[in-house]
């Protein structure tokens, strides 16, 4: 658990972060979103003391972070940045083993841990262990970056626009992988991004920042339903925000389970998003879809009315 109490950071005259309070529960992924220069990175870097906060208190698991020695604190916190920061003169395996080596693990333990992580991140050992970072694609390099951050099995992961430099397809693939990883590992993650779609996809908790302050925080659906200010609303895409909400809800949550009429020919999978279902309706000129499961067996029906959340006439 990470808690910020009224934290401020000044660089000389300039106030980069202005009295923010925030609580990230254990196992929660908290996304910090905002325009460039609003203080996201500064906030993140104060948590592992790469930047010392000027005022307020930051606690990890109830303990003020200043009570820990800097390097000890950082070895307990994973850190991933946009440029990967991999050491170009070290092999992939050596890069991943960095923190365990700093913690003086035995060589055998480091090796088996590196193997485990490479498998976890889909980097076959034979192909990648002895490569140098220059020889990797952007996506592979960032996987190595994530593996390195996870190496000593920290409870907390700080990620500063980790996928910001990747092409859209690789970015989405890595977002999916991060979601799957998080479902298994339950780390406490603070994730900085300026990409609202990325934040909506990944976040349990969404924090919108502007000019060093927190403008609104809550679950993605809470923010979509009730944006507190016009700024948050525009960050969420203005009128498009309905579609963004539709991307967050699955067909299974809205369908009528095994309804009386199953004559609709257009089909959609139970785990598809409402946004995808809407696209199918549009394409098929249909106002109801048959919902199927993994075995292609119909399990329910989704009408346009149900899709938009109007259930009165069913």
């Amino acid at each position: 658990m990470i808690e910020l109490f009224d934290v401020t950071k000044r660089f000389g005259e300039e106030t980069a972060v202005d009295g923010i309070s925030l609580r990230v529960e254990s196992g929660e992924l908290c996304a910090l979103v905002g325009t460039s220069g609003c203080g996201k990175s500064t906030t993140l870097r104060m948590i592992n003391r790469l930047i010392e906060h000027s005022e307020g208190e930051i606690h990890i698991d109830g303990q003020p972070i200043r009570r820990f020695e800097e390097d000890t604190l950082r070895r307990r916190i994973g850190y991933v940045i946009q440029s990967t920061g991999l050491f170009p003169h070290w092999t992939v395996a050596r890069n991943i083993g960095l923190v365990p080596r700093l913690l003086k693990w035995s060589p055998e333990r480091i090796e088996s841990r590196v193997d485990e992580l490479m498998a976890l991140l889909g980097l076959p050992r034979e192909t990648f262990a002895d490569k140098y970072p220059d020889q990797l694609s952007g996506g592979q390099a960032q996987r190595v970056g994530v593996a390195r951050a996870l190496a000593a099995d920290p409870d907390i992961l700080l990620m500063d626009e980790p996928f910001g430099a990747l092409d859209p397809i690789t970015r989405e693939a890595l977002q999916d992988e991060l979601r799957e990883l998080q479902a298994r590992l339950h780390k406490t993650i603070v994730f900085v991004t300026h990409d609202m779609d990325e934040a909506l996809r990944l976040a349990d908790k969404l924090v919108v920042m502007d000019a060093g302050r927190i403008v609104q925080q809550g679950t993605p659906l809470e923010l979509l339903h009730e944006p507190a200010t016009p700024f948050v609303e525009s960050m969420l895409g203005g009128d498009d925000r309905g579609l963004k909400e539709a991307s967050l809800v699955t067909v299974g949550e809205r369908m009528l389970a095994l309804g009386p009429r199953l004559n609709a020919t257009a089909r959609v999978h139970r785990d598809a998003t409402l946004r995808q279902a809407l696209a199918v309706m549009f394409r098929e000129h249909a106002d109801r879809l048959t919902v199927i499961d993994d075995e292609d067996i119909p399990v329910g029906e989704l009408s346009l009315q149900r899709l938009v959340g109007n259930t009165r006439h069913e």
């Binding site: 870097r45 592992n48 790469l50 800097e70 390097d71 000890t72 604190l73 950082r74 070895r75 307990r76 850190y79 940045i81 946009q82 440029s83 990967t84 920061g85 991999l86 050491f87 170009p88 003169h89 960095l98 923190v99 700093l102 140098y132 970072p133 220059d134 020889q135 970056g145 390195r148 951050a149 700080l158």
Partner: protein
């Protein structure tokens, strides 16, 4: 259809070589050391056969440069190496043909034609090596038969060569001069490496030092070397007269002490600049993540910043070394001895072969230092040479 791509470098080089081979004096013969030599053209020096063989060999290298492919380049390389191996034999042949029992003192000088051909064929070899790819090491391996051939000819068949006679006359002195030269350069580079790294680190720590530091070093660089030696003369003489232990270790107004100080002075700028730039230009993202992972400042410096800066720092060492090898020759003027001694002595006596005896090893040392340090810095590039 793809336009045929010709190698433009080889024909130009070979044209220059052929002009020299056919038009300039290949060697010169002097009755003794003092009288100026009389130039002899290739035809008279080695006869029709030798001249034709040489012409054909060089022409073939140029021709192989048209519509080149790797096989043609390899053949051209073989011809070039063979030509370089044959060059000392050309001298030996010329020596044998000019031998005259009436003039046992006669000396064979190397003429401009020969120098140009030698130089151009070395350039052709570099060009071909670049085209063929392959490592620096392979390039040096190819030099081996060439050097072997030169060594054999010099040992057995080139007795009348003036250069060799100058060497024979002072072989002990020559070895001592080479060692002294190396020692002077080594001491200068070693000292400026230590001082330079310390200065660069201080400038990084205290940015206020940067302007003043680089200002002084840039200024030092602009003083002509002779003037710098002159400037050092008085203070060092005074120190030697007044500080006993300094004069005990041989510090004088002239000699090695001012030479070393001046060499260090000139070496500092490239050393500090390269070290400073190398350390400063390490990717900030890499440093940030190293700190963020929990490496201590010392670990970040020793395991990340320094190894990543090393290739660029070595570049500074390379520049400094090559520069110091040349400058150390000038130091002979203030009595520092070394190979420069031969050069200035030779200039004084108008004995060009003595000048060469000093200059050629300096050239050789500079080339070897350049190649070795260049190869080392290449090897240390991140992830390179694996």
């Amino acid at each position: 259809m793809e336009a045929p791509r010709h190698n433009r470098v080889l024909p130009a080089l070979i044209l220059a070589a052929l002009v020299a081979w056919l038009g300039a004096d290949l060697v010169s013969v002097a009755a003794n050391r003092i009288v100026p030599g009389e130039g002899i053209a290739t035809l008279d020096a080695i006869g029709w056969g030798g001249m034709l063989a040489g012409t054909l060999a060089m022409l073939s290298v140029a021709v192989l440069g048209f519509r080149p492919n790797p096989r043609k380049y390899r053949i051209a390389m073989a011809v070039t190496v063979a030509t370089l191996m044959a060059l000392p034999a050309v001298l030996a042949l010329a020596a044998a043909r000019q031998a005259d029992s009436d003039m046992p003192q006669a000396r064979l000088g190397i003429g401009p034609g020969f120098w140009v051909v030698l130089f151009v064929m070395l350039l052709a070899m570099i060009e071909l090596r670049t085209r063929l790819g392959g490592s620096r090491l392979n390039g040096w391996a190819l030099m081996f038969p060439v050097l072997l051939s030169w060594w054999l000819c010099l040992s057995w068949w080139l007795e009348p060569l003036a250069l060799l006679q100058e060497f024979r006359g002072r072989s002990d002195q020559f070895v001592a001069a080479v060692l002294y030269h190396l020692a002077l350069v080594g001491a200068a580079v070693g000292t400026s490496l230590l001082l330079g790294v310390a200065l660069a680190l201080a400038m990084r720590r205290f940015p206020a030092l940067q302007r003043a530091g680089f200002g002084v070093l840039n200024f030092l660089q602009t003083i002509p070397s002779l003037a710098l030696f002159g400037l050092l003369l008085a203070p060092l003489a005074w120190l030697a007269a007044n500080v006993e232990w300094l004069s005990a270790i041989g510090v004088r107004g002239i000699g090695w002490a001012p030479a070393l100080i001046a060499l260090v002075g000139y070496s500092l700028l490239p050393m500090v600049r390269n070290t400073f730039v190398a350390l400063s230009e390490v990717d900030p993202g890499v440093i940030d993540s190293a700190r963020g992972m929990g490496m201590s400042r010392g670990q970040v410096f020793l395991q990340v910043r320094l190894p990543l800066a090393l290739p660029v720092m070595l570049e500074g060492v390379r520049i400094t070394t090559v520069q110091a090898i040349g400058l150390a020759a000038v130091a002979a003027l203030i009595g520092a001895g070394g190979l420069g001694g031969f050069i200035f002595q030779g200039l004084g006596q108008a004995a060009m072969d003595l000048v060469l005896l000093g200059a050629l090893p300096i050239l050789g040392m500079a080339l070897v230092a350049d190649a070795l340090l260049g190869a080392l810095s290449e090897r240390l590039r991140p992830g390179g040479a694996k």
